[in-house]
């Protein structure tokens, strides 16, 4: 799997590149800013790009803007946005239309190498990765009386993992339950929340995220 990295801190950029190389990725580009990433994407057509949200020159969100552009121009290229802060509203702009091949993770996640590598691989294959903090931020804001309250603790665990982008098999491995049990929980959750059961895993990530966002009632960026 071919990866391009855009990160202005040399330390992190080289660390990420080494980590991914060791995991069997082909790191084709290492960029210091969004402009270099755009050129690398055009020239090298990587499978996945990993991009820091805050880079020169303005140090605000050029990484996010580059990510949105790349997704629009090359839907087949997976995009993983890394951030030092969790901004649910920004994350939602990334997931606005689909969760196919897209991820938003806290930078700290690189410390769990296996998990991080799995997320990059998932995104490269068209899946999704949503930072657990975003999911819990969305879930924790639920209002009294909404259908989330009707979920059992186990169903809540499954919902959280589902929203972060894990496959049924991934959920089963994590919770030490069978695949069949996961499928049962998933259909029960969708039934209780009134989300139509849809096919692909990344599509259901989007459905769950949008559901959680709506439950939280507005707060849409103007």
């Amino acid at each position: 799997m071919r990866v391009a990295i855009a990160e202005d801190s040399v330390l992190l950029r080289e660390g990420l590149a080494g980590l991914l190389r060791d995991a069997g990725f082909d790191v084709v580009a290492r960029c210091g800013d969004a402009e270099a990433l755009r050129q690398a994407v055009a020239a090298l057509a990587p499978d996945v790009v990993i991009v820091d949200i805050r880079m020169p020159p303005t140090h605000t969100d050029e990484g996010l803007r580059a990510a949105v552009e790349i997704r629009a121009a090359h839907p087949d290229i997976g995009v993983l946005v890394l951030s030092q802060h969790i901004e649910p509203a920004l994350a939602m702009t990334l997931f606005a239309d689909s969760a196919d091949g897209v991820g938003y993770l806290l930078k700290d996640r690189v410390s769990d190498v296996a998990e991080f590598v799995a997320a990059v691989r998932r995104i490269g294959a068209g899946g999704a990765a949503v930072d657990p903090i975003i999911v819990s931020a969305l879930v924790s804001r639920r209002r009294p009386g909404d259908p989330l309250g009707g979920l059992t603790p186990r169903e809540r665990d499954v919902l959280d993992l589902m929203a972060t982008g894990h496959s049924n098999q991934g959920i089963a491995d994590r919770l030490f339950i069978t695949l069949r049990a996961v499928e049962k929980y998933v259909s029960s959750i969708f039934g209780k929340l009134g989300i139509p059961a849809t096919g692909g895993e990344s599509r259901r990530v989007l459905a769950v995220l949008l559901y959680l966002k709506d439950v939280n009632g507005g707060g849409s960026p103007t």
Binding site: R143, G218, G219
Partner: protein
């Protein structure tokens, strides 16, 4: 003066003689004589009473101009030629008088209008005469081209009519943009005579057709124009009556009103009068509210009268330039003001000091904001990056470790330690400066704040136009601090945050359903917020009845 009066009388006598000798219709002839006398006499009185004013001289000139045009009644070809040449000059003299009232000087658009009037009334009139117009007694006739003369004369009349109407427009505009320092009744009287100009313009056009109404309009116009100088004279001399208002002024000022302006405006009959104070400490003129003010340039529409004490200026009156003609009135008002202006001056000085303090507080808060922003950047690019690099290395190390449980345990603990540090640093960085705010505005930044709040938060952000960053940051901190307090003290089950921009104000309101009774004096957080909000000229209020929830409301101007 006496010579002028004699000359005036002589001219009047001559006009009467000429009118009697020729077959002039009696009524208009009498009116022409009356106009001439009225202007000359009014002008002489004005000159006597107001020697500084150029207006009296202008009135006299207009009177003699009217007299010259009466020469056209003479049977003597030379006198006739001179009179005829001045026939329409008198129209422009009237216009000049109206536009120059009360100073006797022309300003702004009036100047080119009157200049054009003189050029037309002399230039074209002479052209008509060169072309042989106005009959056989015209000594200036060079060629005999009656058709051309008629055309040029028509052009002359139309042009003059247009210029007179333009003059009326100038008068109307001048009236709208701050009138003259006259009593209301006197001003109405003077304005009414501007109608004389309109009727003059109509008369000029009617002269082209010699229609049936001509005689009526002519008489009416002559009567109005003849009465006008009397109105002007009343307006000019009305200031004499003002002297009695000094007594009232002194009585009013003794009552030590906080603001001296209304009393001064009444005494000077100039509603636009301003009183400014000289503050030696700031080396600056300031108004009643301590706001720095500039003295007008000499020669403009506004004039300055200094109020001095021991030879040093302490204050100044800024007023309509026409008032400079009434030196005695101004001196009396200035003297009366000098006795009582200390209160106002102290107040203005206090206000100026307050403004200075407010400005320095705003600068301190702004410097703090910049410093926090810089610190946040340093953290982001420094410590946070390094710790993330460290945790990544630990992760790689962990993946390569053998099965020794003690070593694994040690690495895992180190990783957890680093993760906790990163989490703490993240909170500190956010508290220092919300980086997302500069890039994405309040709605996005508050979304994260609400997501991480201790209670469910209903957000309503309606800020279609982004205000200045300092305002956004203040609004952001108000919400953060309020939500933190709710999490700590309110025992609430929910909160709502409303941020709305209406016009030039951003309203921020945070309410909760908790126990209320928040002590607004105890928390330094709220005090710091109030400082921040007030440094921007805003207000912060907290309502927290025991058992009734808490409401924090900030209003931030962002104009």
């Amino acid at each position: 003066m006496a010579a002028l009066a004699t000359a005036g009388l002589a001219a009047a006598a001559m006009s009467v003689a000429l009118a009697r000798a020729s077959d002039q219709p009696a009524v208009p002839a009498a009116l022409f004589v009356w106009i001439m006398l009225s202007y000359v006499v009014s002008g002489l009185i004005a000159r006597r009473r107001r020697p500084d004013s150029a207006f009296g001289r202008l009135l006299v000139t207009a009177g003699f101009g009217a007299g010259l045009s009466n020469l056209a009644w003479s049977a003597n070809p030379l006198l006739f030629t001179v009179g005829q040449a001045c026939d329409l000059l008198v129209v422009v003299l009237f216009l000049h008088v109206f536009l120059a009232f009360p100073t006797g000087r022309l300003a702004g658009a009036a100047r080119p209008i009157v200049a054009a009037g003189y050029a037309v009334s002399i230039g074209l009139q002479l052209t008509v005469m060169l072309l042989g117009g106005f009959g056989d007694d015209n000594l200036l006739a060079v060629v005999d081209a009656p058709a051309a003369a008629t055309v040029v004369h028509a052009v002359e009349l139309i042009a003059l009519s247009g210029l007179v109407l333009a003059g009326v427009v100038v008068l109307a505009l001048r009236r709208r943009t701050g009138g003259l320092p006259l009593r209301r009744s006197v001003r109405l009287l003077v304005d009414a005579f501007a109608l004389g100009l309109v009727s003059l313009a109509v008369l000029l056009i009617m002269g082209l057709f010699a229609g049936p109404g001509f005689v009526v309009v002519q008489r009416l116009t002559l009567v109005v124009l003849g009465l006008a100088p009397v109105a002007f004279l009343i307006g000019l001399l009305d200031a004499r009556l003002a002297r009695t208002s000094i007594g009232d002024l002194v009585m009013e000022l003794r009552a030590a009103p906080a603001d001296l302006r209304p009393a001064l405006a009444r005494a000077l009959r100039d509603p636009s009068v301003e009183l400014v104070y000289w503050l030696p400490r700031y080396r600056s003129w300031v108004d009643h509210d301590g706001v720095p003010a500039d003295l007008p340039e000499p020669g403009g529409p506004r004039a300055v009268t200094m109020i001095e004490r021991d030879g040093e200026p302490v204050a100044a009156l800024i007023h309509h330039a026409a008032l400079t003609e009434e030196r005695e009135l101004l001196d009396a008002v200035a003297a009366a003001t000098e006795m009582v202006l200390d209160n106002g001056r102290l107040r203005a000085e206090l206000q100026a000091s307050l403004a200075e303090v407010r400005g320095s507080r705003a600068r301190v808060v702004e410097a703090g904001r910049r410093e926090r922003r810089r610190l946040e950047r340093d953290l982001h690019d420094g410590a946070q990056q390094r710790l993330i690099g460290l945790s990544m290395r630990l992760g790689v190390l962990e993946a390569r470790l053998g099965e020794d449980p003690a070593v694994r345990q040690a690495v895992t603990e180190a990783k957890q330690e680093v993760a906790a540090s990163l989490s703490e640093l993240r909170d500190i960085a956010r508290g220092l400066y919300p980086a997302v705010l500069s890039g994405h505005g309040l709605a996005v930044a508050l979304e994260s704040v609400a997501a991480q709040a201790a209670v469910p938060v209903r957000l309503r952000i309606r800020v279609p136009q982004r205000p200045a960053e300092a305002v956004e940051v203040a609004a952001y901190y108000v919400v953060c601090e309020a939500l933190t307090n709710i999490g700590r003290h309110a025992h609430a089950t929910g909160a709502s945050v409303d941020v709305a921009r209406t016009g030039d104000t951003v309203h921020v309101e945070i309410t909760d359903d908790g126990v209320g009774g928040a002590d607004t004096d105890r928390g330094t957080g709220l005090r710091g917020l109030a400082d921040r909000v007030e440094s921007l000229g805003g207000t912060l209020r907290v309502w927290s009845p025991a058992g009734g929830g808490t409401r924090v409301r900030a209003e931030l101007p962002c104009g």
